[in-house]
């Protein structure tokens, strides 16, 4: 009982913070934000306590929500290790982002709105994590989408921000249709949305003769795949996977702390988290699809990150790529490795984003000071910032090493686990499946290259904007606190006592080993076959990537940046994100536009004319009717009025108010009726 009340307090604290920020007057904005920080600190501490208490147990508390017909829907709280851990991370990153934002957003006119929406987002995220049934998950899933939309469009007067928020919202909706379809299938097949009941029912269900038999009903086995793909589609939307990853780079229009919190650490991870929740429902086909899509996304994201000049876009594509990794883990049956990567990634990517935010903040200050016309996010004007932004530099360095997957850092452990899993899976499934591993390994090199490139471009060499580097100043303690805490948690020692061996990680050892109840799936993914090979190999690949970056962008080398029309083909593919936007523009959007034009024509030419002619007919008809009305019907009514007044005049004589006469008439009539019936 104590656990559930703690969980509810954690759940409600962000909502309180949201309400408080919304109603806070402008003059008390800063106080309100500090109070939300304190509230989030409390909820971070409480969720850490919860994490220590829950251990590897899990607890469910639920009550009836509403009843439709004979179906009762329930609300409940599911507390288990992975959820509570994510809760800690969400709260902690949210707390640090709050602290960071106090400085970052200090001069923003939408200060209270911003903090309110941050809290709303935290609340929605806690809802997804704590919900014990898919319907509630769906509700909070949409709430997360909403708060993401609101935060991306924080500067809604900026056209690009408004467009980006719309794009994110619409693309997410495409994924959510899959969620709804999956929910329908689940309800039909299991009659419940409760996760633990679904797991039990799924374990007892079987695939026989091409049909999927559960306790409640039987469906053709293909519906199982449909359901899995539907759920996966939801994750594709939210976690920005191929082919719906196009919204995430645009979402960088939001404030940088938002990018750190939502589009790097938590919200995009919700898709992966959902996959880990429903992993029992995924069959072999779905898993293969997930692994393939994950690897493709990982590769595409890495390639897209290679040639970007926008400092945040690099990280955005990197996020897409890393999320692809996580889904490889899901697809290859290593859901715990995926979760592991989710957790480590949350810290180092948040650290990276916040470090980059610090850089942008400093350059922005410079820009305003000298009233310059430069883009504060363009890496081409940066360089040599390491001496003036020391804290930012070192935290960035640690986080970047972690992202690259260098030993001693958290990224190495989780990426190692994923690579081992993918290689094992490929070996188990067969030839074509090696493509997944191949893409995953290739991505390692690419990751090292683009991170090395960004590191060298931003922090090393000379400052390329024509001003003295010494004018750049680092932000206040808010930035430093957030950065230091986040990068400290990116060090491998926190995640495993042996920073070279993911097998000794406390996290992997606490998570239940095997959740897959899919029939025919008995791959043991956590064995350490190929481990040493993969570890050494990936280090080598990272080194190769870093070396390439060093050769190309080493300090002191004169860098020339080609104009966009002089870029090589590969660079153009990368900088335009594989021309996906253009592709969609040309195919889907142009088709839809064509369709709208056609429909508009149909509307104008056919339907409008039809309506108009109906109108004409109506007018003519009404004239005729009006004439008839005047002559015949009015005449009839007048006549009947005349007639009844005559009759009334006749009958008035014996209706002069004697009650008893009425009774006599009534009785006589009654008697007559009775006699007639008899």
């Amino acid at each position: 009982m104590a656990l559930i009340s703690i969980a509810l307090v954690i759940f409600l604290i962000p909502l309180t913070a949201f309400a408080m920020n919304v109603i806070a007057p402008k003059s008390r904005a800063r106080t309100a934000s500090y109070i939300s920080i304190i509230l989030l600190l409390i909820s971070t501490i409480l969720s850490s306590i919860l994490l220590l208490k829950i251990g590897s147990e899990s607890a469910v508390t639920r009550m009836d929500w509403f009843t439709v017909g004979s179906y009762t829907f329930e609300v409940g709280v599911l507390l288990d290790f992975q959820g509570v851990l994510l809760l800690v991370i969400v709260n902690m990153v949210s707390l640090l982002v709050h602290i960071y934002s106090v400085l970052y957003m200090a001069k923003d006119p939408g200060y209270t709105r911003y903090f309110g929406f941050l809290s709303l987002f935290t609340f929605a995220m806690a809802g997804i994590i704590l919900s014990d049934n898919l319907l509630m998950v769906f509700v909070f899933w949409e709430l997360v989408g909403l708060s993401s939309y609101l935060l991306i469009g924080h500067w809604y007067s900026k056209d690009s921000a408004a467009k980006a928020s719309k794009k994110a919202f619409i693309v997410n909706r495409i994924g959510d249709t899959g969620f709804v379809v999956a929910l329908c299938i689940i309800w039909y097949q299991f009659g419940t949305f409760n996760l633990d009941e679904i797991q039990v029912l799924m374990e007892s269900s079987q695939l026989q003769n091409g049909s999927w038999v559960s306790g409640l009903s039987a469906l053709p086995a293909v519906w199982l795949s449909f359901m899995g793909i539907g759920l996966f589609l939801a994750a594709v939307g939210k976690s920005a996977q191929f082919p719906l990853q196009v919204w995430l780079p645009d979402a960088m229009e939001g404030p940088t702390p938002v990018s750190a919190l939502i589009h790097a650490a938590t919200m995009v991870a919700a898709g992966v988290f959902l996959m880990s929740r429903v992993v029992v429902l995924l069959d072999l086909t779905t898993l293969a699809i997930i692994a393939t899509v994950g690897s493709i996304t990982a590769f595409m994201g890495a390639v897209a990150a290679l040639a970007q000049y926008d400092i945040k876009k690099v990280l955005a594509y990197s996020t897409i790529s890393q999320l692809g990794y996580m889904l490889i883990g899901i697809g290859t049956g290593a859901y715990e490795a995926a979760l592991f990567h989710l957790f480590t990634h949350a810290f180092f990517k948040a650290a990276l984003f916040l470090a980059v935010g610090s850089v942008i903040h400093s350059l922005h200050a410079l820009k305003q000071k000298h009233n310059l016309n430069i883009d504060a996010q363009d890496m081409r004007i940066m360089g040599g910032l390491k001496s003036n932004l020391p804290v930012t530099f070192y935290t960035y360095l640690i986080a970047a090493f972690s992202l690259m997957g260098l030993p001693l850092f958290s990224g190495f452990l989780s990426k190692d686990a994923l690579l081992v899993a993918s290689l094992n899976w490929s070996a188990a499934v067969g030839q074509l499946a090696y493509g997944v591993s191949l893409l995953a390994f290739a991505t390692v090199t690419l990751t090292a290259f683009y991170m090395g490139r960004q590191l060298l471009l931003v922090f090393f060499g000379d400052f390329r904007s024509g001003f003295s580097v010494s004018e750049i100043q680092e932000g206040g303690w808010h930035f430093k606190v957030a950065l230091i805490i986040l990068c400290t948690l990116s060090i491998g020692f926190f995640w495993s006592f042996n920073p070279f061996d993911y097998m000794s990680s406390w996290l992997l050892n606490t998570l239940p080993a095997k959740l897959n109840s899919t029939p025919q799936f008995d791959l043991e993914v956590r064995d350490a076959t190929n481990h040493s090979f993969v570890g050494v190999g990936s280090i080598a690949l990272v080194m190769a990537g870093v070396l390439l970056a060093w050769l190309k962008f080493k300090p002191g080398k004169i860098l020339t940046f080609a104009e966009s029309d002089q870029l090589s083909f590969l660079e153009r593919v990368s900088i335009n994100n594989w021309y996906l936007d253009k592709f969609y523009e040309r195919t889907i959007l142009s088709f839809i536009r064509w369709l709208t034009l056609v429909l508009a024509q149909v509307e104008r030419k056919v339907i409008d004319r039809l309506v108009n002619s109906f109108g004409w007919i109506g007018v003519i008809f009404s004239f005729v009717v009006g004439w008839l009305d005047k002559v015949f019907i009015d005449g009839l009514i007048n006549f009947s009025a005349f007639f009844s007044s005559q009759v009334g005049g006749m009958t008035k004589s014996f209706q002069y108010g004697k009650v008893q006469s009425f009774i006599i008439f009534a009785l006589v009539s009654l008697a007559l009726i009775i006699f007639l019936i008899l």
């Binding site: 004697k658 008893q660 006469s661 006599i664 009785l667 006589v668 008697a671 009775i674």
Partner: protein, 166 residues
């Protein structure tokens, strides 16, 4: 003995009712009504409805008849002359009444006779329990009706508020 008592009260009921019909003095009619109602209460006792008999005495005789007598007194000049109520519709009234009586008696013969009438004695507990369970809704509605009647009667018969205001 029971039969004799029953027929005595039956005849008393009808006789006093007929007296109401034929008398011209309204007050005599009201007092005859008392006799009718009391003997009807006695008839109730023969159906084992003891509680209802007492209720009949209390509400009809102690309440309604007193009200009626009040009505008689308040709607006549108390000037000594007896209050006479004439009759109208004598012929048509008689015909219709006789028709209804014949119809009633005729349809009474169509009734299936109830073979044995073994009443469980309706104890007060039994009645009260049913009133609070099975018949709760009519009970509440009756309570509401009484309240409405109380308010309505006092408003209709009470002081003319408008003339008081003006």
């Amino acid at each position: 003995m029971t039969e004799v008592t029953f027929y005595f009260f039956g005849i008393l009921t009808l006789a006093s009712a007929i007296f109401i019909l034929i008398t011209k003095n309204v007050l005599h009619a009201a007092l005859s009504l008392v006799v009718t109602l009391l003997s009807v209460a006695a008839l109730y006792v023969f159906t084992n409805a003891e509680f209802l008999a007492v209720t009949q005495i209390m509400i009809y005789v102690g309440g309604i008849v007193v009200l009626i007598v009040f009505g008689v007194m308040l709607t006549n000049d108390v000037s000594g002359k007896t209050i006479i109520s004439g009759s109208v519709n004598r012929l048509s009234g008689t015909i219709i009444t006789l028709t209804v009586l014949v119809m009633l008696i005729y349809s009474g013969q169509e009734l299936t006779p109830i073979a044995t009438k073994v009443h469980n004695t309706a104890s007060i507990e039994n009645l009260g329990e049913h009133l609070m369970t099975t018949y709760l809704l009519p009970f509440e509605i009756a309570a509401l009706l009484l309240l409405i009647a109380l308010v309505a009667a006092s408003i209709i018969a009470g002081h003319d508020l408008q003339s008081k205001i003006s």
